[in-house]
């Protein structure tokens, strides 16, 4: 296993410069964009001396390179800075308020996407060339081309407005939030045995999870399909069938396992992207997650919040990709020995 440890260590080391480069690019771009964040905070009525006092207080009067070094130093101590606007709260506090909402939506969307992707991909591969295969291929293309706000709104119209079956926005009904332990409403409801809160949280998750899940499932469908077609043609599959092993076991136990490895990479990437905050879905469903947070703070030129959010997201994506690679290397020793 020492080769695995070396592999992990080397991947972690390469992650550090990646984050630094990303941070530097974001730092520079935010500051060269037009728009003074101090004026955005205090508004146009404030006298010049008030503007200058705030600029000094926020450190925005220092030369750029000093602001950069100051920021890096704080980052090394785990301090993502304070938001420039509205109460100047620590960015990390604001992110931790929003992240559970995104995490919860990501988990449920991901589960839906994987289940649909695997089922349709396998179905398509097993019926290669037949009408069902063509239909599923079209599904894969159409879902990926969907415009999420439109799709989300259609679901809202059907299930919210016409059928009145499901809520269309937010995470729970008023006064139905569970006691906060993790910030994941479903988990917190279970932990506190608050079943009305659980029902409310699940009902609110349905539409946004389906919207995002279906959108992503198309990618999984195509990957599973193409790899399954390849694997189902292999000799050992033919041999398994010849030995009389039931088709279901042949497909799901033998073939899918081998087709799963390349799917894993894509799953990791997609999950990481979900955690970055699906802005369109969150906006459509008024879901208070990372995506809407980042969008709002960009519009307000809230440098520390934007930088902090991007660093946070970058670290998540890097960790998840690392996890995927480690899993990949664990499953296939040939990878770590390269």
């Amino acid at each position: 296993m020492s080769s695995l440890r070396v592999y992990i260590a080397s991947r972690l080391l390469t992650a550090i410069p990646m984050v630094l480069i990303l941070l530097t690019v974001v730092f520079v771009v935010l500051r060269i964009l037009p728009g003074d964040p101090v004026v955005a905070i205090v508004g146009g009525h404030a006298p010049p001396e008030v503007i200058e006092t705030l600029r000094r207080r926020l450190g925005l009067d220092k030369p750029l390179h000093l602001q950069y070094l100051d920021y890096l130093w704080k980052l090394m101590r785990g301090d993502l800075g304070k938001s420039l606007i509205w109460g100047q709260r620590p960015v990390i506090d604001e992110l931790m308020e929003r992240f559970p909402a995104t995490l919860e939506l990501s988990i449920f969307s991901f589960i839906i996407a994987v289940l649909i992707g695997i089922f349709t991909g396998v179905k398509s591969a097993r019926n290669f060339g037949k009408p069902i295969d063509h239909a599923i291929r079209v599904y894969g293309i159409v879902t990926y081309a969907l415009f999420i706000p439109w799709f989300g709104m259609m679901l809202q119209f059907i299930f919210g407005v016409y059928l009145r079956w499901l809520p269309i926005s937010g995470r729970a009904d008023p006064f139905m939030e569970p006691e906060r332990i993790t910030g994941l409403y479903v988990l917190d409801s279970i932990l506190t045995l608050d079943f009305p809160a659980l029902i409310s949280a699940l009902r609110h998750l349905v539409l946004p999870s389906i919207t995002l899940g279906i959108y992503i499932s198309g990618i999984f469908t195509r990957i599973v399909r193409s790899h399954m077609i390849e694997v189902l043609r292999m000799d050992y599959i033919r041999a398994a069938r010849a030995r009389g092993i039931p088709e279901g076991r042949v497909v799901y136990r033998h073939a899918l396992k081998n087709a799963f490895v390349p799917l894993l990479t894509m799953m990791g990437l997609q999950f990481a992207l979900l955690l970055a905050g699906a802005v369109l879905t969150e906006t459509t469903f008024s879901w208070p997650g990372m995506g809407t947070y980042l969008l709002e703070r960009i519009l307000y030129r809230d440098f520390p919040a934007v930088q902090g959010a991007i660093v946070f997201i970058a670290i998540i994506i890097i960790l998840i990709n690392l996890l995927v690679d480690i899993t990949y290397a664990y499953l296939d020793p040939r990878i770590r020995l390269r």
Binding site: G44, Q156, S169, P174, S286, T292, L299
Partner: protein, 522 residues
């Protein structure tokens, strides 16, 4: 064998007791069940910026403060009449420069801090100390505050402005708890003294209010008010249609209002003339609009009716003065002077200024795409059409998102741009001085300097009677139309859409949506 008469009697009595118990129980239930629904949900696309009266300077956050707090004076709902609030009464000195307020006794904030004259002084002094965005409403008018005794406080003014009571009713003058807000920095806090108290606030997601049991005035009929924040008008509309919210307030699309009016069996649409205005600003200290003829040409060419009908489906109305219709002293000065969409006059003025069809006036018209709603690009496009109809103007549309736009305003980057105005206080002064007085108009990108205008505005501020002030504001409006540093375009209407059965919706020129009047029968 049939029961004996005695047994029959017992059975009859038992049945009678049972019937009485059931009927009595039913009436007891009717009597004790809530008469009104316990909770109403309001949806809005607005946002709370900061829960600090020393920093908040936006319409919606002030609305929240008006429901969780109160001033020494306040407006009577549905009117512009100023009535006692946290002060039982007040007196004005003969020279109009000293206001003595006699405070209500025995009140406390929701964190238990007693309300008294010391707290009032502290709150005003904090405005001076922190110099936040809205502080000018205090610092421009008040010289200092003196505590006379525990429940008496004196405000000494810099000048005897007649509309000082209107200022006192604004949020920067609200007394706040010194325990909740720090002296030397801005902070969000949820403590108040008004009809409601905040029990939960998740920024940009939800605000939850509960009736304040310690409020001195009439108790709200609805125990809980929940405000849900939505990203945009489509989301807000859907929320109302699915029943997730009971009331949609600021802002649906014009087409939504038209649709909801057609669904009158399910929804109530309440409208009132609004005090918010939209206008064009022309940068007066640089070419091309340092030339008054060009400003007049723009004023003549704009087509307000087309904007109101095509973009807003007549949910707004044309405006011909910066002082809105319905406010005393309003005059349709721009209509009187230029007419409406007067291309002939515009061409004449442009020709006088040296422009022609072969030598066109080239200008950049700026707008901000999201801050005033998604209709802004259409408004800008129609203004462009109207100006280009002269054949002597070429308009390039430019846009900038709000933070950048605000920056550009004060730096004088934009030669002509669209802007909006919600009143700080409901008085003609607030619709004139900020745009026309040379000391202040730079903050709105106008850069206009006319000593006669300054003098008229200063006189109107301190004139002792409404009649004298009205006469002065009429002169101000005449001069404004002649010089056209700003060009009014249209005036908004306040519109609330609610589910049938929701009552107590009172809209007036203060634009304060009073949640504490809302109710729905259970």
């Amino acid at each position: 064998m049939s029961p004996s008469p005695v047994k029959k009697a017992y059975i009859a009595i038992a049945i009678a007791i049972l019937v009485i118990a059931v009927i009595g129980g039913y009436y007891a239930y009717i009597a004790t069940r809530p008469k009104y629904r316990e909770m109403l949900v309001i949806g809005t696309t607005d946002r709370i910026t900061t829960l600090d009266p020393a920093k908040a300077y936006d319409f919606y956050t002030w609305e929240v403060f008006q429901n969780i707090g109160e001033g020494l004076l306040k407006y009577e709902p549905g009117t512009l009449k100023i009535v006692p609030g946290l002060a039982e009464r007040y007196e004005v000195s003969e020279d109009g420069k000293v206001y003595t307020f006699y405070l209500r006794k025995g009140l406390k904030f929701t964190d238990g801090t007693p309300f008294n004259a010391t707290v009032v002084k502290w709150s005003i002094d904090r405005q001076f100390h922190l110099r936040g965005d809205p502080s000018w409403l205090v610092t421009e008018f008040v010289d200092h505050v003196e505590v006379v005794d525990e429940y008496t406080v004196k405000f000494y003014l810099r000048k005897p402005v007649s509309y000082f009571p209107a200022l006192v009713a604004t949020v920067p003058y609200f007394p706040i708890s010194p325990k909740a807000w720090p002296w030397d920095e801005f902070k969000d806090a949820t403590v108040g003294i008004g009809p409601y108290k905040i029990i939960r606030w998740e920024r940009d997601v939800e605000l939850r209010l509960e009736a304040n049991p310690d409020y001195y005035g009439p108790k709200p009929k609805t125990k809980y008010i929940v405000v849900r924040f939505y990203k945009d008008a489509p989301a807000l509309r859907l929320a109302l249609e699915t029943g997730e919210i009971d009331i949609a307030w600021r802002t649906l699309m014009p087409t939504d209002y038209v649709d909801f009016k057609k669904m009158s069996e399910k929804y109530t649409v309440v409208e009132a003339p609004g005090p918010y205005i939209r206008y064009l600003v022309l940068r007066c200290n640089q070419p091309p609009f340092n030339d008054v003829r060009l400003r007049r040409a723009i004023a003549a060419a704009v087509d307000r009716w087309r904007i109101c009908s095509d973009v807003f489906l007549n949910t707004t109305e044309p405006l011909y003065s910066m002082i809105p219709k319905g406010m005393w002293s309003h005059k349709d000065v721009f209509l009187d002077k230029y007419g409406e969409h007067n291309i002939t006059l515009a061409r004449k003025l442009l020709t006088e200024a040296g422009y022609s069809e072969t030598n066109k006036l080239k200008i950049e018209l700026w707008y901000t795409p999201a801050h005033y709603g998604p209709t802004e690009a259409d408004v800008a496009a129609l203004i462009k059409d109207a100006l280009e109809e002269t054949g002597m103007i070429e308009v390039t549309l430019r846009s900038a998102e709000w933070s950048t736009y605000v920056d550009y305003i004060t730096k004088g980057v934009m030669p002509i741009f669209l802007l909006g105005w919600y009143p700080d206080y409901v008085d003609p002064d607030d619709y004139t001085t900020p745009f026309l007085h040379s000391k202040y108009c730079w903050a709105l990108g106008v850069f206009y300097n006319n000593s006669r205008m300054d003098s008229l505005l200063e006189q109107a501020m301190v004139a002792p009677t409404t009649e004298k002030r009205a006469a002065l504001y009429e002169e101000v409006q005449e001069l404004m139309a002649d010089e056209a540093p700003v060009i009014p375009l249209f005036q908004g209407r306040l519109i609330v859409v609610a589910k049938k059965g929701v009552e107590g919706i009172v809209l007036d020129a203060t634009m304060i949506f009073r949640y504490y009047l809302l109710y729905a029968v259970a």
